[in-house]
Amino acid sequence: MNPVSAVLVLLGAVVALLASIGLLTFRTPYARFHAAGKASPIAFLFVALGAALEVGWVGAAELAIVATALLLTLPASTHLLFRATHRTTSSSHMSRDDLEVAEAELAERERADGGGTEG
């Protein structure tokens, strides 16, 4: 392994370790999702960059596909988990709840339109 990709790979490993430590030690579910859902794709991005320097053009293109897929899908799935947490647990500890306001506005608008599609 050349020095640059070794450094990138080690950096990715350290970021993944920090993400897992945050996942283990933070107190609320939202803080845990922040730790795991944001640091994990960055960790894999570092590793993929380090590996792309080693495997030539075709391998680098394949790794770019994997990294793009992860960067597109992981924030989306984390967002769905955030929403599931918000809907199943009580959010009385929050000082303001923007999602509830937005969903009430959406329901109001759909009722004014005479019923829309469920989403």
Partner: protein, 85 residues
Amino acid sequence: MIADVAIGIFLLAGLLAGIRLVRGPDLVDRVISLDAALVALMGAIGIRVADTGDTLYIGILVVIAIVAFTATVVLSRFIETTGRR
């Protein structure tokens, strides 16, 4: 040498996520820790690719990424629709 150390760090990250998987008070904590463990597995396979220069493993990375996303979406829909914790 460096690859072994980095794979060890990823293994440690996966194990910490596994502790949260066992302890996690709610179902959502278990889902996100499974996600983190799968990303740690992807990182370890990526280090293997960087170490050996073998592009055969990249297909496995694609499959793991897609399966992790699908599983998380299905489980979060399940949590939302049933209200189960």
